[in-house]
């Protein structure tokens, strides 16, 4: 009992030892450890959900490494969940570890999660997922989270208050800091509490002072807008009393400083009982989950978080000279990244940081001073290496671990429920599954499998066969491996439901994706997995990447996938407005960048660029078509898109510096689109095939114009003028040049269908002289004539119109010929029908 005596002076009239802390405050953590050592209580009570009492011993296990979080979730509704994150430097964590080491019982005394989770249900209908976590604190600034909300009060946000309520909440730290003349509550707290070593002073002094300050605040502000605190505090008082009956006054309580005055208050048991009576309930379950520093940091949207977990961790773990040690760490990191940082730099940085602290009137250099010093001395004033320091050290890459023995994560439960609903049992035996996306259950199965794939749970593998059978059919090969359960446990870090986790994972993937194509693919997968909430982030990243990518090739590669996604979106009825907008923007950038990118290419690069041009052509044709009815007009792609694409093609077709294959291709596309008269095409061809142009260039042009399986053979068959030009050019090619152009020509013509090749051969053998009279003589091969037989062609038109659902107009003809030549013909027609 000596310890308790030592602490007796702190509180007039005895009573439990109340240690008011700031959640995630390393100074608080150190002070708590010192106070516990001095007081040696027989039981430690901690603000937190009592359901987790049985999980406390896990904290002592070897493979339990902070940051971790206590996770509470409603059993029937895994999406309703709350987290209580704990870092190594959290006072609560220190208290737990101290209790375990000294074999003293530790208990959580906050209102049970069974009630706090139910509060959320009362407030709103929608489940409160991880996304909204911590919002109550976000509204009033993170400092509130530290001082009053931290380990539980409102941090577990099962019950986010309406925005208006959040506005009137008091941020106790801000009030105190303001009174002390600080504009930044964080800085004030650091100066007053965190940066003061406990040293030789009375271990309880900091808590007494803080309690007085908080007491004064609560006299003025009451609950400061945190109405539910009254209930929680009543419950805590009851628990403290119970512990006191058992252990006398040798009780230590670790809770947010904000609650200390309330716990000290003398109230009757009956009044407290009345407050906690009749609270709504929901069946809740708890477990430990691994956490990361990044999620502790406020930037990741966790309201009760802190800016600089890495810095706090350093302050907590550094035995002495924190600034010197920090600068050495920074220097080590920068050296690893191949920056030249000498010991002299470290010395100067420390000097600058310390002098800056004096200049700014702070007891010790804080993060602000060290950062300024690192920037000025080690980073040569640049913010780029500084960002690295922030990312790796100030926030830090630490990933927590929890022991295997921790109970299952809610994600697994959610998956079980979905599997039952969709009648999709996990089986170790491999089997194929055919899905018809028009059926609801099948669509649900497909979505689930896609989401799991995003989460890295490779239960099903998409088999390629559906590609040819249309967009509403998918084939999967299913096989459940035991290690997939581990994968699910790992994915638990992303969320508590399959939907929530997949959304969070997709967003994170988008942000960290390397290339443009990766993001586009991700967008496609988001649509397949029906993750509408992830799309905005993915789209933003996509737009940003596209804006900064200077390689037209990348852009052109990304566009078709996007357009394909648009089409899938149509089939599945997803809103694709944002997608269409991004796709149109991408197309615009390609139009601007394409002409300069087509200049001065060698044969291989030109061939690749030709494929890009073809891809863009296909994508633009689809984009320019109005999206399905029901879309607001504002989301429609620019109707003028096609027109601008044509002017790009026209530019390409006449520019001499553009390689032949691309020029030929541009002319061909314009011709197919009806944008270029046949005469004009013939003139351009004649120009290229005239003796002034090197034969290789001419051959490339022909390859671009009629090559590549684009139905060019038919064109030559039908337009004898073009065939004549090619024929005349070919016969005029000098013998030595002929061997050079031969491979190219062979490649061009060998791609034609045998029938077309034969017809062409026959036409050429007949010779130009006879061809003019061919019609009259009736010697043309069956079905072919030198000119279009308008009568026979017209006969087909009504059927074609019927098939395409067009009411007419010449545009239909042109497009149709184009589509027939397109590889995606099947999909397109299906999309039109669907």
């Amino acid at each position: 009992m000596t310890g308790v005596e030592g602490g007796a002076g702190r509180v007039a009239g005895g009573g439990p030892l109340l240690l008011g802390v700031r959640h995630h405050g390393p100074g608080s953590a150190r002070a708590v450890r010192a106070a516990l050592e001095a007081a040696r209580p027989r039981i430690v009570l901690i603000e937190g959900p009592p359901e987790a009492d049985s999980l406390i011993p896990l904290a002592a296990e070897e493979d339990m490494r902070p940051p971790v979080a206590l996770l509470a979730h409603a059993v029937d509704e895994p999406g309703r969940s709350a987290f209580w994150p704990l870092a190594e430097f959290s006072p609560e964590w220190v208290a737990i570890r101290w209790a375990l080491r000294h074999e003293v019982p530790a208990r959580f005394i906050d209102l049970p999660a069974t009630h706090t989770l139910a509060w959320g249900r009362d407030g709103r209908d929608e489940p409160v997922g991880e996304e909204t976590d911590g919002t109550p604190d976000a509204g009033s600034g993170g400092a509130d989270g530290h001082a009053s909300a931290p380990l539980s009060p409102s941090a577990p946000s099962p019950a986010p208050p309406p925005a208006s309520e959040a506005d009137v909440r008091v941020d106790p730290l801000a009030v105190l800091a303001d009174a002390a003349g600080y504009d930044d509550p964080e800085r004030w707290w650091e100066d007053v509490v965190e940066h003061r070593g406990t040293g030789e002073r009375d271990a309880f002094a900091p808590f007494v002072v803080l309690e007085e300050a908080m007491g004064a605040l609560r006299e003025v502000y009451g609950t400061g807008g945190h109405e539910r605190d009254l209930v929680r505090e009543a419950y805590m008082r009851l628990q403290v009393r119970a512990a006191q009956r058992e252990f006398g006054d040798a009780v230590a309580v670790v809770c947010g400083a904000w609650h200390v005055p309330a716990l000290r208050e003398k109230t009757t048991v009956a009044a407290d009982r009345a407050l906690v009576k009749g609270l709504p309930k929901v069946k809740a379950d708890m477990t430990w989950v691994p956490w990361t520093n990044r999620r502790l940091a406020r930037v990741s949207g966790y309201g009760a978080g802190i800016d600089s977990p890495g810095w706090y961790g350093h302050l907590f773990s550094a035995p002495d000279r924190p600034v010197e040690r920090w600068m050495t760490k920074v220097a080590g990191l920068l050296r690893d990244e191949d920056r030249i940082v000498s010991s002299a730099h470290v010395i100067e940085a420390v000097r600058l940081a310390e002098t800056l602290a004096v200049m700014r009137g702070r007891p010790l250099p804080g993060l602000g001073e060290t950062t300024d010093a690192v920037r000025a001395v080690m980073c040569e004033g640049s913010d780029v290496p500084l960002a690295l320091v922030h990312d790796r050290l100030v926030v830090g890459d630490v990933l927590g671990e929890v022991p295997q023995a921790a109970p299952a994560v809610p994600l697994q439960r959610d998956l079980d429920r979905i599997q039952r609903r969709l009648r999709l049992r996990p089986e170790a035996l491999e089997r194929e599954l055919e899905l018809d996306l028009r059926k609801e259950t099948d669509a649900g199965r497909s979505t689930l499998l896609h989401r799991l794939r995003l989460l890295g749970v490779a239960w099903g593998e998409a088999v390629a066969s559906w590609g040819s059978t249309g967009t509403f059919r998918e084939t999967w090969r299913l096989r459940w491996e035991p290690e997939l359960s581990v994968r699910i446990a790992e994915a638990g870090v992303w969320g508590t439901t399959v939907l929530g986790a997949a959304t969070a994972k997709a967003e994170a993937d988008a942000v960290s994706a390397q290339g443009l194509a990766e993001v586009t693919a991700l967008a496609e997968r988001c649509l397949l997995a029906e993750l509408p909430d992830a799309l905005p982030v993915v789209m933003r990243v996509l737009a940003d990447r596209a804006a900064l990518d200077a390689d037209v090739g990348h852009l052109a590669q990304a566009l078709p996938a996007l357009v394909r996604s648009l089409r899938y979106g149509d089939v599945r009825g997803t809103d694709t407005g944002a997608l269409a907008e991004v796709a149109a923007g991408l197309a615009e950038r390609i139009f601007v960048g394409l002409p300069p990118a087509c200049v001065g290419l060698d044969a291989d690069a030109a061939e690749e660029m030709r494929r890009h041009v073809d891809a863009v052509q296909g994508a633009v044709a689809l984009l320019a078509e109005a999206p399905p009815a029901g879309d607001p007009a504002a989301d429609r792609p620019d109707p003028d898109l096609r027109g601008r694409w044509h002017s790009v093609l026209r530019l390409l077709s006449v520019r001499d510096t553009v390689s032949g294959i691309l020029r030929g291709r541009a002319v061909r596309l314009l011709l197919d689109e009806g944008e270029l008269a046949q005469d004009e095409a013939a003139r351009l061809m004649g120009l290229v095939l005239s003796p002034g142009t090197p034969p290789a260039e001419g051959a490339a042009w022909i390859e671009g114009f009629v090559g590549g399986g684009s139905g060019g053979g038919m064109l030559l068959v039908h337009d004898e003028r073009l065939l004549g030009l090619v024929d005349a050019w070919l016969t005029g090619v000098p013998a030595e040049a002929f061997t050079d152009v031969l491979p190219l020509l062979r490649r061009t013509f060998s791609a034609y269908e045998p029938g077309v090749r034969r017809t062409l051969g026959e036409l050429v053998r007949r010779g130009p002289g006879e061809r003019a009279s061919a019609t009259a003589a009736g010697s043309a091969p069956p079905g072919f004539a030198p000119d279009l037989d308008m009568e026979r062609a017209d006969a087909v038109v009504p059927v074609v119109r019927l098939l395409l659902g067009l009411d007419g107009g010449s545009r239909g003809h042109v497009e149709n010929t184009d589509d027939d030549t397109d590889d995606d013909r099947d999909d397109k027609n299906l999309a039109g029908v669907a």
């Binding site: 600058l352 002098t355 200049m359 920037r375 000025a376 040569e380």
Partner: protein, 379 residues
């Protein structure tokens, strides 16, 4: 924030000159003698050796404020407080200070006022050029004396740096990166050993406490002499940023355009603010690589696009409007100037510019005339 058209000398034109002195442009310590005296009189905090003011007072001098007796100190530098604090602290810790920034970010302005406040003298200045000789940083000889009496201290012509060392003052080096690399290196010994040997006399000049050096350099120009890492690590570096908000930049541009217009006797053109705002917006967006609403990323062209250039674009446009137009500054008057400022590299920058036109400008409300004008000159 103070910004001027030219990196080196004109910045003081921004100054709020209290009493117009005889000189066309009085030194900072003369122009603000009153403020400095008031600060010194009421400064009761510790001063480093040979400093005229304490570091806190120096920071107040630059950032402005009101003294206990009611004296108002005008802000000399409008920008992040952090920058001034780091700069002053650097000088107080006896480290040399390197001010970096694109042209027109008030580097020289800040360095002059720092020297004036710390040492009461901003004239110990070495102007860096490609032709700056070693003598300008070390010492030269008076050859008449040298021939007549042989080498002696009397025949020695000290450089500003040498004088600053001997007297414990602040020396300034302008445009450090324009000085040839071998001449730059003479600074290394001065900054690390704080001594300047004179081998001809077998003597040396040791820096007394209070000596320090402020250098300015332009980090955007190509083809400059990059500092060796040995020299670089003797400096603490502070990068002076471009104006933080669009409004501040519009304000700077309008004010400077007005001043220049008057001095060049351009006919006055009313109501140019909208067009100025547009120019500033274009410059800022391209410079920052993101649109003003923060929603769309952009590629940045190779040019600096500093505030100073925006000023010259607008001045040009004004001249066009006054002499060849209808007297009102219109989109067409600034379009050509903008094109010239943005497209420095004919291949890459042109694509960036067109992309910007097509993806951002074309869709912006009320910018149709500007889009057309730009299309016309870009075509």
């Amino acid at each position: 924030m103070s910004v001027s058209v030219e990196p080196t000398t004109v910045e003081a034109a921004e100054a709020v000159v209290e009493e117009p002195a005889e000189a066309l442009r009085p030194h900072a310590e003369d122009a603000f003698a009153g403020e400095l005296a008031a600060l010194a009189a009421q400064d009761d905090r510790p001063r480093p050796a040979r400093w005229k003011l304490s570091p806190w007072a120096v920071a107040t001098y630059l950032l402005g404020g009101t003294l206990p007796d009611g004296t108002v100190i005008t802000p000399k530098y409008v920008g992040p407080r952090r920058i001034v604090e780091v700069a002053v602290t650097t000088l107080a810790t006896d480290r040399a200070l390197l001010l970096l920034g694109v042209p027109g970010t008030a580097k020289t302005w800040v360095s002059e006022h720092l020297a004036a406040a710390v040492s009461g003298d901003s004239t110990l200045l070495v102007q860096g050029t490609a032709g700056t000789p070693e003598e300008a940083i070390r010492y030269g000889w008076n050859y008449a004396q040298l021939l007549a009496h042989g080498p002696s201290r009397d025949a020695l012509v000290p450089s500003p740096v040498m004088r600053a060392m001997a007297e414990g003052m602040t020396a300034r080096v302008e445009e450090l990166t324009r000085i040839p690399a071998d001449v730059q290196d003479t600074l290394i010994t001065i900054l690390s050993e704080k001594t300047l040997p004179i081998p001809e006399l077998g003597q040396e000049v040791q820096a007394v406490r209070g000596f320090n050096l402020i250098a300015t350099a332009n980090d955007r120009d190509r083809g400059v002499n990059d500092l060796s890492s040995a020299l670089r690590r003797r400096f603490n570096t502070v990068v002076l940023p471009l104006p933080e908000s669009a409004d501040a930049e519009v304000d700077i541009v309008s004010r400077r355009v007005d001043q220049i217009g008057r001095s060049l006797d351009l006919p006055s053109v009313p109501d140019g603010v909208d067009e100025i705002r547009r120019v500033v917006t274009v410059f800022r967006e391209l410079r920052d690589g993101v649109t003003a609403d923060g929603r769309t990323k952009l590629k940045s062209p190779s040019g600096t696009l500093s505030t100073a250039e925006a000023i010259s674009v607008v001045t040009n446009g004004l001249a066009l409007a006054a002499h060849f137009g209808d007297g009102v500054l219109r989109a067409g008057d600034v379009a050509a100037g903008i094109l010239g400022a943005v497209v420095r590299d004919p291949a890459a920058d042109r694509v960036i510019w067109q992309e910007y036109l097509e993806t951002v400008v074309r869709e912006r409300d009320g910018w149709t005339d500007f889009y057309r004008a730009c299309r016309e000159v870009s075509a």
